[in-house]
């Protein structure tokens, strides 16, 4: 068991380390934050002085060593642009992104799964076709077009909803809807396939022949299958959420991490970008690790197979 845990832990740490290092190197090769901050017209001496103050004039390995040792002590650095600890800068914006992602996910589940089930149960009918068409449309437009269209219709022309920003529950609706559209559509389609797949299985016919009502069988098997589908789409949604969130957050002026990371990248605010990526990688890797761990606990065969 211990070996299993160790192997998984090493794997997780290795992933994190590699990701963070790649970002570190890539960022530093991509441009000069001092020039970005002071402006291109600034005194070359001033730029040089600032670079020195931030330790950017050191050779890359030295910078890296210093970064890693700071990390060990929990010091993630200061935002070059806002001149305060990176942890403050990023953590302030985390809740907004998490809220948006959670809302989008909830919408995807609450709308997508039932839609898929209904479509599967009424396969071939107009209902099925309409749901599928809706799903395809949902997957057919880029985020920002959809978002802007929603703003124009629901905020500008109808005046029902605010145009953006985090201003209470109503302002969450349009951004969450925009972000979740792809997820709703995916989930609907996949749920439909899953249900159809289940319905085509032999054991279903056997169970029915034995006298069990179809609904009971479906619920029993659907339950598990829906969970699996959900999980996989969850994974998809996570990556879509990070990417899509950048666009959605910009369109809706949502004060989240996506926008922060985009701006920080553009302005070469290295410490912020690094920390932001660390957080994302950490969450993905972390969840996977915990699950692997739990699973190894439950089923010995997996441990041995590793």
């Amino acid at each position: 068991m211990a070996r299993y845990v160790l192997a998984r832990l090493l794997r997780a740490l290795g992933t994190m380390w590699l990701a963070v290092t790649l970002i570190f190197v890539g960022l530093r090769l991509s441009g000069d934050p001092a020039a970005a901050l002071l402006g291109p017209e600034a005194d070359p001496e001033a730029i040089e002085a600032l670079r020195h103050a931030w330790g950017l004039d050191q050779p890359l390995p030295v910078q890296y060593a210093r970064y890693v040792s700071n990390l060990m002590q929990g010091d993630f650095g200061r935002s070059l642009r806002e001149q305060r600890p990176v942890t403050d800068v990023v953590h302030e914006r985390l809740p907004a992104t998490a809220l948006l992602a959670a809302a989008a996910l909830a919408l995807a589940v609450v709308i997508g799964i039932p839609a898929g089930v209904i479509a599967a149960l009424h396969r071939g009918t107009l209902l099925d076709r309409s749901v599928m068409l809706g799903a395809m449309l949902g997957q057919g437009l880029p985020n920002f077009v959809l978002g802007l269209a929603l703003i124009l219709v629901f905020s500008f022309h109808l005046g029902w909803l605010p145009s953006g920003g985090l201003q209470g529950t109503r302002s969450l609706i349009l951004p969450a809807l925009t972000l979740s559209t792809y997820g709703i559509a995916s989930l609907a389609r996949f749920t439909r396939s899953a249900v159809l797949e289940v319905m085509g299985q032999d054991y279903l016919r056997t169970a029915r022949a034995k006298g069990l009502p179809t609904s009971q069988i479906l619920i029993h098997h659907l339950g598990r299958n829906a969970a699996l589908t959900l999980v996989t789409v969850l994974g998809l949604q996570l990556s879509v959420a990070i990417a899509g969130a950048v666009v959605t957050e910009t369109v809706f002026a949502w004060p989240g991490m996506g926008r922060l990371l985009t701006q920080a990248t553009e302005l070469r605010d290295f410490p912020v970008v690094q920390y932001g990526i660390v957080l994302v990688v950490l969450s993905v890797v972390g969840v996977n690790f915990v699950v692997d761990l739990l699973y190894g606990l439950i089923d010995p065969r997996i441990r041995l197979q590793a």
Partner: protein, 565 residues
Amino acid sequence: MRDQLMSRRRLLRMATMGASGVLLSSALLACRQEASDQATPTAVTGASGSANTPTPLVSQSSNPANTPTVASTPTLAERPELRVGVQGLPPVLDPDQALSNVGTRVTYSMFDYLIERDFLSGPTPGSGFELVPMIAAQWERLDDVTIEFRLREDVRFHNGDPLTAEDVVFTFQRLLDNPPDVLREAKSYFSTVANVEAVDEYTVRFTTAYPDPIFEKRISSWGGWILPKSYYEQVGLEEFALRPVGTGPYRLADFRADDHLTLEAFDDYFGGRPTARRVTFRVIPEIQARVTALANGEVDIITNVPPDQVPILQQISGVEVRSIPLANCHVLRYNCNRPELRDKRIRQALNLAIDRKLLVDTLWGGLALLTRGYQFEDWGALYNPDRPFLPYDPDRARALLQEAGYNGELIRYNVKPGYYTLGVEAAQAIVEMWKAVGITAEVQLIDWADLPKEERMVGSWSNSNYLADPEGAFWLRWGKETATQRDWWTPENPRFNELGEQQRRTLDQQERYRMIQEMIDIWLDEAPGTVLYIPIEHYGVRMGVEWTPYSFYYMDFRPDNLKFS
């Protein structure tokens, strides 16, 4: 069977993620609710714990009776809140660091100068350039190099400290005495100052290194904001940049960079009680969203309205567009060190091939101004109204290209998308105009600042005339010891720099006028760049908000410029 085993793992993953997701989001929602109820997250200034009563920061002021008087609460509640939708906010609020469009726009109502440029004066309110007393009640020149200011005695900082000559001296010494790197730009605006000292508690004397004809104008512009000595010395540069204290009608309440800046009324303002109880700047990057926010009543004013959106705003009821020409011009700058651009005839040809009027008419809907050479009307007596507009002459351009032996070398025009209003559109249009006279040209959407110097060719740029004077942009950006002459252009005619040095030490207006005009002639001849046009800045404003935009990026919310009806 294997399927079922695997599915359990997937189930576990789902459960973990789902559970943590639910827990996380409910926790966040709870926190969010709490936070917005309290409305005092990390960046709140020490000077306001709750809505109105300032808690005086510990100050070592010499005045023992240092208790601030605050206007009583009931009247505060009656005043409206002003909400402004902006495109961006500065990362820090130190006025000398936030020297940008987005920065000065919001710091203008938090800090004051010794002398104020009265934008509301003159025939076109918003573009005025008369100088009037502000923190200084009066001033006089004792001799060619000495200027003395007598301060008002009723000015207070947001934390309650009274303003004295010490604060003025401190403000400028901070810039002049070995300032930190981030303040170098502000320092450069006061390069003529040799010494500043307090004569008595309310009298300050400045000595310039040589006669400075525009010292008073400098004092009324960038870098001239008076800062509190005690408070600053307590908290230091970095803390001050996040929690600044000034003398202006509004003080910091809450700041989240890239999201919002909230200011609240400072009723002890010497210029009169502020007319709004609060001013909130909200960041809304997308123009459609800004327009929507104004139409919905979510905000009262929006900034950075491109000309194309003006007709839309005009159709929204309850909303109007207020426009003003900016003290700013979009220019092109040529890297004269490049072989393609070394011959000034080629550069002149580039300039002659641009149909500026067409750009103005089509891109700006006629709402931009052409310039007579490189001049701004607010130069006042130094402005020559008879100088012709910049010419459009494609035939002459072709002739010059031929003369210079131009052989189809590629000319690249660098422009950063989204930076200057209609910058990319203008670039694309201009490149087509160049192609029409036989120049091989292309647009490159990389900021010239991101290119190594040797690779820059044509850079899109803008010059803000931060002083109503040629020193404000012309000499400041194209003169000796500027980045332009360091990296882009060395004047062939040494007279340009000679005149430039002389004019800034000449107190005689007539003399200065002659020198400046000669300099402009040289600049037009050597063509290190060109002026495209003066953009007109549009604001969308809710009717009932009586506020006049200024010909600079400042948004002035002092009581004489902000009223509600």
